[in-house]
């Protein structure tokens, strides 16, 4: 541990809320990414005042501070590359207010997404960004990443639901950003800037979030395709037709094979499947949207069309997609599923071509990749299945990742749709945003002149993500 007065931290949060054992630090040095780097100390604040005191101390002594929710990030956002204090925000977990008439709720950053939705349910409303990890993901972490999920095609990402934030700045001062109103035109929308800033601009201590009514009707359908291009064209045609699906997911053949191999689900061995969903308060309107989407599927040679309003039937239809994540992890004893180049977004018209390109690049680099994702919001997920103990596999992965991002930029896509940049995607991010990096650095300096908030991330991250930190695997 370097230059840390732990007794001072203990006096702020209490001795029982400080961890300094090497084992704890090693644990808090990991998240769901490939990276590993230990903090010097973990502190667990219980309230805003404690966060302010910690930040004032850290700023004075120029100690790095990394804010952490559940540590489920996939790009190394919470891996403290420069050491310092990791702020574990899980103790600030209160749902402070649910205000149905003003249509907002106020929560502390450690509230778990699913908990919030459970609390909102009796009011007939829900908080919509909900990523796949909602069972453990904290609102603070979702704000840090501008998280989104399967229904973001209709309801938007986290940024669209954040009305206001209370943020402790690097010097320990507290600012109230945004408002408790649906619209605001009062100067810079700094709360929107904080969303997706990955803990580099301040520590969120309270969020005011909008919510939407739970739809009375929800219908989910599936369509199979013998050509990936047909599925891709269907996505573009649906999104360009004025229909607003509440979910539009693509699963490619590699993914289908993985699910069948590991889960024995017996899904049709087709080149692609599309899952489409519509929801609303009026059944006829939902019927109309489902029928319209099915019509587009048929026009593009989709077959095996099935749809249902029944919750159990919907669960069956969605099972293949739901099991995909674990299926990829269990694909082979030798291969590990890694999150690299895992959430790019491309224009709808390029969706099928992107999936093809991903397979082509994977084959050329001797690794296995799959393509799936929330294509309704332009997001394409991938996983790289590789032998993580082989150095040459990391070289291959690095090359493949670089080629994929080069392609994504060439079609005016973007590096990350929902998982953020962190360490793993920093080099691609810097290439994509080269003309605005200087501006971003100036903004960072304005918020954090001593560069203590999550240093070494985004534009300050290492260009070679493989050597930026220790890898979490034993590489030979």
């Amino acid at each position: 541990m370097k230059n840390i007065d732990t007794s001072r931290l203990k006096s702020i949060v209490g001795e029982e809320n400080i961890k300094t054992d090497p084992a704890d630090l090693f644990i808090y040095g990991s998240d769901s990414s490939v990276h590993s780097a230990s903090p010097w100390v973990v502190a667990r604040p219980a309230n805003t005042e404690q966060v302010q005191k910690i930040m004032a101390y850290a700023n004075q002594d120029k100690i790095p501070v990394v804010t952490r929710g559940s540590g489920s990030g996939m790009c190394g956002q919470t891996v403290p590359v420069k050491g310092g204090i990791t702020l574990d925000m899980k103790k600030m977990n209160k749902i402070l207010e649910i205000n149905p008439s003003d249509v907002f709720c106020r929560v502390e950053p450690g509230v778990v997404d699913d908990d919030l939705n459970q609390a909102l349910k009796p009011f007939g409303v829900f908080y919509p960004p909900t990523p796949a990890s909602s069972r453990i993901a904290t609102i603070g972490g979702e704000i840090g990443n501008n998280a989104s999920g399967v229904r973001s095609v209709k309801y938007g990402a986290t940024r669209d639901s954040v009305l206001g934030l209370k943020v402790v700045l690097a010097d320990g001062s507290l600012v109230n950003l945004g408002a408790r109103t649906r619209v605001e035109a009062t100067g810079y929308q700094l709360h929107k800037l904080i969303v997706g800033s990955e803990g580099t601009l301040g520590v969120v201590v309270e969020a005011t979030l909008g919510f939407v009514p739970i739809p009375k009707f929800r219908c989910l359908g599936i369509a199979n395709f013998d050509q990936l291009e047909d599925a891709g064209k269907t996505v573009a045609d649906i999104m360009g037709s004025g229909i607003v699906p509440s979910m539009l997911e693509l699963v490619d053949n590699v993914a289908i094979k993985a699910v069948n191999k590991t889960m024995n689900l017996g899904l049709p061995d087709v080149q692609a499947a599309l899952l489409y969903e519509a929801d609303g308060m009026v059944k006829e309107a939902v019927d109309y949207e489902i029928e319209a989407m099915q019509e587009v599927c048929r026009k593009n040679n989709g077959f095996g069309l099935v749809s249902s309003y029944d919750a159990e039937e919907r669960a069956k239809i969605f099972l293949g997609r739901k099991k995909l994540f674990p299926a990829l992890s269990k694909f082979s004893d030798l291969l590990s599923s890694t999150s690299l180049a895992d959430d790019m977004a491309v224009p709808y018209s390029k969706m099928a071509e992107t999936a093809r390109k991903i397979h082509e690049i994977a084959k050329r680099n001797n690794i296995i990749m799959t393509a799936y994702g929330h294509c309704g919001s332009g997001c394409m997920h991938t996983k790289i299945l590789m032998e993580p103990n082989r150095q040459d596999q990391w070289e291959s992965a690095k090359k493949a990742v670089s080629e994929i991002y080069e392609y994504v930029r060439s079609v005016n896509g973007t590096t990350s749709a929902e998982h953020g940049i962190g360490i793993s995607k920093a080099s691609a991010f810097k290439l994509e945003k080269s003309d605005s990096l200087n501006l971003m650095s100036n903004i960072k300096r304005a918020f954090d002149p001593n560069n203590i908030l999550n240093p070494g991330k985004l534009m300050d991250a290492h260009d070679d993500w493989v050597t930026a930190t220790d890898l979490r695997y034993m590489v030979a």
Partner: protein
């Protein structure tokens, strides 16, 4: 006692599984140890990270680490939730094997025996895991075999069995929780929920307003609730007690049978004391039936609210 150096011999075969873990963290919400401490480093994922650290030579073995490895109730919920199919319990058991006999071996949540032991061998006979034995005139626990089920603790007539770490599940911790909760004016009832049946359904966030009228306290098994503990909420001005346990045949310890006997006897006793026995109820809920459990609590609270406070 002579010790041997720590060598990760048994752990070694799990290297690829430790790589397979994608560290998604989905195991957290299911782990009673994590739920009690709320420290990430007490989650199943953390245990795997530690074991990777030991195998990779990035961490040195210590009693601190051993305490984490030996702290597991073997409920297996993390295994069921694992995205990557890592057999966590098997990995942890092999880690315990590697720590056993070293200077770092600790007891964690496994059972220990104190000097009050009369060597009656009741615990040896009762242990379903063959973890207790009578050696050289003493009862000893095999910390690798022990699954921290607590049956020996419950059954010992001399109260000579216990565990060093209970993570809020032993009688004294539960008694404290009851007292702390029922101190509030808004508090009315205690719901005892079995660790094996209900715990995964409870999430971590808290509502700041409208404090709950009841508190759910997790115990190791309905059958392990002492009669005095079941009555404790009523002694502390609570309005009622709900004991939740598994349906018939579902409890591998037959703890539900014992819980039913306890509750029946106590309800009779309440009747004799002119206290409405409805203030103490037992429900049997199928594993994972979250809605059923909530419905049972709501129905119970309706009854309790109709009955009003115990002392009027």
């Amino acid at each position: 006692m002579e010790t041997r150096p720590f060598e990760p011999k048994h752990l070694d075969k799990w290297k690829s599984n430790l790589d397979s873990c994608i560290r998604c963290g989905y195991c957290y919400e299911h782990c009673p140890v994590f739920k009690h401490t709320r420290w990430e480093s007490d989650s199943p994922r953390a245990k795997l990270i530690i074991l990777y650290g030991l195998l990779a030579g990035k961490l040195e073995p210590s009693t601190y680490i051993a305490d984490k490895i030996f702290s597991c109730f073997h409920c297996g919920r993390c295994v069921a939730a694992c995205s990557s199919g890592v057999p966590l319990i098997e990995v942890f058991t092999d880690a315990k094997r590697d720590f056993k006999g070293t200077a770092f071996e600790v007891s964690g949540t496994t059972s220990i025996t104190n000097s009050d032991c009369a060597a009656c061998l009741t615990c040896v006979r009762a242990c379903p895991h063959e973890a207790r034995d009578f050696i050289n005139g003493k009862i000893v626990t095999d910390t690798v075999k022990c699954q921290s089920c607590g049956i020996c603790i419950d059954i010992c007539p001399n109260n000579a069995a216990s565990s060093c770490l209970s993570y809020g599940t032993n009688s004294s911790a539960l008694k404290n929780e009851i007292g702390n909760f029922l101190e509030k004016d808004t508090s009315k009832a205690i719901v005892f929920g079995c660790n094996w049946s209900y715990y995964p359904d409870f999430q971590s966030s808290k509502m700041d307003r409208a404090p709950s009228e009841y508190k759910i306290l997790i115990n190791m098994c309905g059958g392990r609730l002492e009669k005095t503990l079941i009555l404790e909420p009523l002694l502390q001005n609570g309005w009622g007690v709900l004991v939740a346990c598994c349906p018939d045949g579902d409890c591998e310890h037959d703890g539900n049978v014992k819980a039913k006997l306890h509750v029946k006897a106590l309800r009779d006793l309440l009747g004799q004391m002119d206290i409405n026995p409805e203030r103490l109820q037992l429900v049997q809920i199928k594993h994972g039936d979250k809605a059923g459990f909530q419905k049972a609590i709501d129905t119970f609270m309706e009854t309790i609210n109709k009955l009003g406070p115990l002392k009027q």
